[in-house]
């Protein structure tokens, strides 16, 4: 097990390197120049040449990448070209917001998907099954931004400001700015709508997947045996069937993290949340290369680490699985 984990951790290095290299080259290949934005109306050719030289942007791309990497190894993530702010500091300030959003949206997704899938599988081809499938289809079809706007209009505008429309209240202990609001209740109020907006689409996908998986599992011999032993329906479904049916779902959940990060960009922008998604999209739009690299790095790391955790949960779900 330890060897497996060590091997997987080592695999992270080339994966992250490859991702950051691709992002690095792509950002410099698309039209746009952060120097133009940085200089604004003080732009002159002379000033631009000086600034490009100051930031090393006049060097070959691969040389720039190696320099960036060299600094990264020493813990220096660089500074934003536009604002001059240290990238690592801003990433760390925003990471908890996005991690919380992603985690809670996954909780929302599972809270909807598991009961819907169980009902759909146990009552196959009944109205309950059709309802669960239809809701799943609806969830897949509705984009996050549309659902987000609907939630805003209902809970912030329509119901007299029942939930806050935007902004953020940090979980106690996670705020890294001088002035910020922190509190569990405030945090819950702020994260609820974004988590639902982001989670419903995932719920729909997981419902369909889990339902199919459950249908397969409840017809297996060990489930029949469990019932024949006289076990009640609840332990049969929850302990025997669901646990095994979850394995493919868990795999997909890990892969969904990438989509959730993409969705977080939209949801965070809509709800004006100070998360990594808005940090990344602002950087891409402004061609703030250092900031984009920071975003790509942390996103890649999050993706591979979460998928590693997902792989490790297989042993819990199915004790027969052993990693050599």
């Amino acid at each position: 097990m330890r060897v497996y984990i060590l091997r997987r951790l080592l695999q992270i290095i080339p994966t992250v390197l490859m991702i950051t290299l691709v992002v690095f080259v792509m950002m410099r290949s698309i039209p746009g120049d952060p120097v133009v934005a940085l200089l604004g109306d003080a732009y002159t050719e002379e000033n631009a040449i000086k600034v490009r030289h100051e930031y090393g942007l006049d060097r070959p791309i691969l040389v720039q990448y190696v320099i960036w990497l060299g600094k990264l190894v020493q813990g220096d993530w660089g500074a934003s070209i536009l604002s001059g702010r240290p990238v690592l500091k801003d990433v760390l300030a925003r990471l908890p917001v996005t991690l919380e959003l992603i985690a809670l949206s996954m909780v929302v997704a599972l809270a909807i998907a598991i009961p819907a899938a169980i009902i759909g599988a146990l009552r196959q081809n009944t109205w309950a099954d059709y309802a669960a499938t239809s809701i799943a289809m609806f969830g897949v079809s509705v984009p996050e931004f549309f659902l987000g706007v609907l939630l805003l209009l209902v809970f912030s505008v329509g119901l007299g400001g029942l939930l806050p429309s935007s902004g953020w209240v940090y979980l106690p202990g996670t705020c890294q700015t001088v002035v910020c609001a922190a509190g569990l209740w405030g945090n819950t109020q702020h994260v609820l709508m974004p988590a639902v907006a982001l989670g419903v689409g995932r719920a729909a996908l997981l419902t369909r997947l889990l339902r199919a998986s459950m249908l397969e599992v409840i017809r297996t011999e060990y489930v029949t045996t469990a019932r024949a032993k006289g076990l009640g329906e609840r332990p049969v479904v929850l302990k025997h069937a669901l646990k095994n049916a979850l394995i493919p779902t868990v795999t997909v959940m890990g892969l969904q993290v990438g989509f959730l990060i993409g969705g977080a960009i939209v949801v965070e922008t809509l709800f004006a949340m100070p998360g990594l998604g808005t940090f990344g999209i602002d950087a891409i739009i402004a061609r703030d290369y250092q900031q984009v690299q920071g975003f790509a790095l942390v996103t890649a790391l999050a993706f591979v680490v979460i998928n590693l955790i997902v792989d490790l949960t297989y042993t819990f779900l199915d004790p027969r699985i052993r990693y050599a």
Partner: protein, 538 residues
Amino acid sequence: MRTRRYLPTLGSALIALAALLAMLPMAAEGQAPKRGGILKVAYGNEILGMDFYTTPGYEMAWVAMNVGCGLVSITPEGKFIPDAAESWQASPDGLLFTFKLKKNVLFHDGSKVDAAAVKFTFDFVLDPANRSNMRQFLGAVHSVEVVDPLTVQIRLKQPYAFLMHVLAVYRMGMIIISPAVTQKYSPEDRRAGKPEALVGCGPFKLVEWAKGTHLVMDRFDKYFEPGLPYVDRVVIRTIKDPVTQMAAFKAGEIDFIADLSADHVDTMRAQSPRAQVMSGKETTPMVAMMKVTVPADGKPMSKDRAPHPIFSDIRVRKAVACYGMDRKEIVKIAYKGAATPWAGIIPPGTMDTVDVNHVCPYDPAKAKALLAEAGWGPQKPLTFELMTNTEKSVFNVIATVIKEQMARIGVTANIKLVDKTTWLVTSTQDGVFDMFVEDLASLLTVDQNSYLSASTAAWNHSRHTDTKIDDFYARYAREMDPAKRKAIAKEFQEYSVDKLYWNTISGSPFYQVAQPWMKDYVYQAEFKVVYKKVWLDK
């Protein structure tokens, strides 16, 4: 009987009560401002950086105006008023300006604002090494001298009619910076918004800037205007989505939207009927800019110019942009009629503007004839690329209407949608484009537009090479007689619309929205967003 006796009394009481109720709003108007509270502001765009003199964008400037102070300020009517300077006078030849400073002006670190600090500010801005975006407006300044600790003189090389405008309002005005603090901290510290590196003399001191999230300013207790500011704290949040802005406004989460997009104003009014929706003169031009020259050697920004394959021909420019564009229809569709159709280079609300719309009446037949004369027609159809960007939805609506109008004269306009940065780089760095839709900088004066439209300007979007335009700007700026200046402005605008190096479609209205309890905010469009007199009647 008793009832009858009491009726007149009751009637009088009701009348008195009605009179009292009628007087209530007036009483509120004249109410004494209340101290305290947190003013919550929403910006639609991110603050890009915090260095007052290098960071582009209105958002930073709107902060700098509150953290910093200048020598003078300006009223909505265009009258110059004291800020750190208590008085000033210009010499009869207009070459020497003497400013007397107030005695009690302090920087936020407690040090005094004196003549040396003013001189340091000018020297800093004029030093090319500091890459200040205000430097371009100070070309007429010869030197700045300290006469005594509270007196400073600005000597000009030649008369410049807009020096006071530059000091008061161009970009954010000339914000006085602390010599000690500026020398101690690096440009990166200022850009990153370190509060200790951004010490101003304004009503609010910077507490924190968390990029893309919030900015906090606190009341400066030793501000030189007694009693001001009224609010204890200003918190600025970035809320990009207008729907979210409006929802937050309706829920009372924010007090003020600094820039509400024009296409959401009706919804805002419907959703929040008590909101104070503020707008004024249209000082920003909405343009459909055509490229006139291209680099002959293929290298962007090259001085060696060749004609643009389509729009170098004045007949084509006139056919497409003068007679082929129905500005009234564009405004009706894109702004629901709430903007002014406009063909002149200077927007309808800017000082010394002239209505030259009659030069460009919508006349598709004439447009077709001109195109035929230029060699374009059914045998050789004209096709061009129309660039628009994702910053504002109104750009795309306008581009779509133009495409439709071009089709009516047999021209194909292919819309190319890009992001803001791609537009910025393409348009300002001599990239490949035929026409783009965008609203450009807000203009208080004709002079202010020189940095976007003079042939030598770095941001000369059309890349025209007509030095007569530069001469107009120079003559206008040097002319001290307002009447003669107005005449030059008229001649310039008539010349400009005839040449169409710059093609305006309309004014671009600017909107700000305040809660009913936000009192005494003075609307000055993008030019001044100042909170020192604002108080909250909650």
